[in-house]
């Protein structure tokens, strides 16, 4: 079945991207009306249909954000509640619409990439991966091997960050600090490897910039460390109990809301771009339960897989000179939280139009579905188990009408 993956506004029409996650078949359609999918309005920025205040309701809408300490980022949720229980909730997009994306257009590709990295910092390697997939016509296998490795390192530190936050929410003080340490150590590996803590500037057109390929050897130590921590953390009944049954997302919800990434895989829907990416041979990790714990288990398993993938890669500086694909092309990458999608139109070697869609834009809505009916104290567990951010959700959808 095709999932609605992205909707962009273009020339008064809607440009929709449909994706079949089983075969990797993608469909780009020009439509006059919004497709009849539940997620469609959220994809162009309108999330109001997901909250409603029925007549006679004694619930009150509260806004959580946009500068709430609990979020730590500019984004907000509108919550309908009569105290404790979340009756209805929606994400409020737009606080991070910076207009930075307009600077992607009509400049040399390396500059476009530099700006794209700064669109969503902690998924920069995934975005550049997707962008270059769309742009390069005859990719060099070796270069892509390294890019794949970098993407997996990005996955590592983001997954560590999620576990750190979940452990912190459950007041597992020691565990949360250890995972924070793991995150920082991974960033340091990336720093040694690419010269930048978040890998900015590592993916350049046609090549990869690697300063010191041997830096990845340090990941071996982190892997052992992670395995021990994982075992110990999963033994903590308090921690497991807190995540179990929290923010449950059913398989049907995932299908209905076209959720992607870890959120889908945690509910038993194996949506993973790596399953059909030509540079990967990968089988998605899934878990059936659909709660915060299931998503955590998916992440734990994916960390193992990522370590495995990284071990087989020889990180070295490479460059090639691939041809640039002109016209409208789609690039996909499996970022740590879900797939990111870039729809790029190239003209004369420069970007003339671009549409970006981060998984957060979709998955925030899925999160809202999952957390509905839970109580406030479940909120951070649910939210952090998705590992999303608003910078990713507020990306440009091809201009406002």
């Amino acid at each position: 079945m095709m999932a609605l993956s992205a909707v962009f506004r273009r020339n008064g029409n809607y440009l929709t991207v449909w994706l079949d996650y089983d075969t990797g078949e993608a469909l780009i359609r020009k439509e006059e009306r919004l497709p009849d999918r539940k997620i469609a309005p959220a994809l162009i920025g309108e999330t109001t249909p997901y909250i409603r205040i029925p007549a006679g309701s004694n619930a009150v809408p509260l806004t959580f954000g946009p500068a709430a300490g609990g979020l730590g980022q500019a984004g907000a949720f509108e919550i309908l509640t009569y105290g404790e229980r979340i009756v209805s909730i929606r994400p409020v997009y737009g606080y991070k619409r910076r207009g930075i994306e307009e600077r992607l257009i009509n400049r040399p590709l390396e500059e476009t990439i530099a700006v794209l990295e700064r669109a969503v910092g902690n998924f920069a390697l995934a975005y550049t991966y997707a962008f270059l997939r769309a742009v390069e016509a005859n990719p060099d296998e070796d270069v892509w091997e390294v890019r794949k490795g970098l993407l997996e390192i990005e996955r590592l530190y983001n997954h560590f960050n999620v576990i750190h936050k979940l452990a912190g929410d459950a007041s597992q003080k020691v565990a949360t600090m250890h995972f924070h340490w793991l995150e920082e150590e991974t960033l340091r590996v990336l720093n040694r490897l690419t010269g930048h803590r978040y890998g900015f500037g590592a993916n350049v057109p046609g090549g990869v910039r690697i300063l010191d390929g041997r830096a990845v050897e340090r990941l071996g130590k982190l892997k052992e460390e992670f395995r021990e921590l994982r075992e110990e953390l999963l033994e903590s009944k308090i921690f497991i109990d807190r995540l179990h049954n929290t923010c449950r997302l059913s398989r049907e919800d995932v299908i209905e809301l076209d959720a992607v990434g870890v959120a889908a895989r945690g509910s038993g829907v194996g949506r993973d771009v790596r399953a059909f990416d030509r540079f990967y041979s990968y089988k998605p990790v899934t878990c059936e339960d659909g709660d915060a714990l299931a998503r955590l288990m998916v992440r734990m398993e994916e960390i193992e897989r990522s370590f495995e993938i990284i071990e087989g890669i020889d990180f070295r500086a490479l460059s090639s000179d691939p041809e640039v694909r002109e016209g409208l092309n789609l690039g996909l990458a499996e970022a740590p939280h879900g797939d990111v999608l870039t729809l790029v139109e190239l003209r004369d070697g420069r970007v003339s139009w671009i549409g970006l869609r981060g998984a957060s834009r979709i998955n925030y809505v899925a999160f809202c579905r999952g957390i509905t009916g839970n109580i406030f104290t479940d909120f951070p567990f649910g939210l952090h188990s998705f590992g999303l951010n608003f910078a990713d959700a507020d990306l440009w959808q091809g201009g406002e009408e």
Partner: protein, 201 residues
Amino acid sequence: MWIIRGLRKGVLTSEYPKRVSEEELPFSFPLEAPAECPFGAVEDGRLDYRKCINCRLCNVPFGQKTGLSEVKNPLPFRKSLHVFFLDVGTCHACNREVALLHSPNYDVHRLKIFFTPTPKHADVLLVAGCPTDGMIPVLKEAYELMPEPKRVLVLGACANGALCGRKVEDFVPVDGYVPGCPPSPVQIIEGLLKVAGRDVE
């Protein structure tokens, strides 16, 4: 047996500001001023670090740099410093770096720096990102609610107008800058210590 595990690990914390290790700094700062910059960080042959986004597209050697942050008028504080972090439109990397200040590697509490969840308790407003339409009123409100004496420390290149025209100082008075894209935790600590009027050397 978390406690034993924790003890076995020993001390992981950075020795900064006594000394800074090579590990803790990114290698992506231009060491010389390039002839020109696609993102407008070079003017009249001088490199403005505040605007440098560390893209490494210019043709100069790159490496690690410290001591880049500038603070105009430090606070006359001798004891603790309370900081409110406000994201006005980042790419989330700055948020991660600020969050990492609490990691065992940096542990800012040892330096008597504390983060507060409300600007009403804060001495320093740590702003990151280029101000968006939605966040400008929030930024002004947060600044207004802070008690005197208050300082605004700006984080990262895009808060200084590198990528998106706007900068924080257009909306609230700014007292200090921490360059970098994103500034690494050590550089943020450096900026905070300078704001607190403490000796960084």
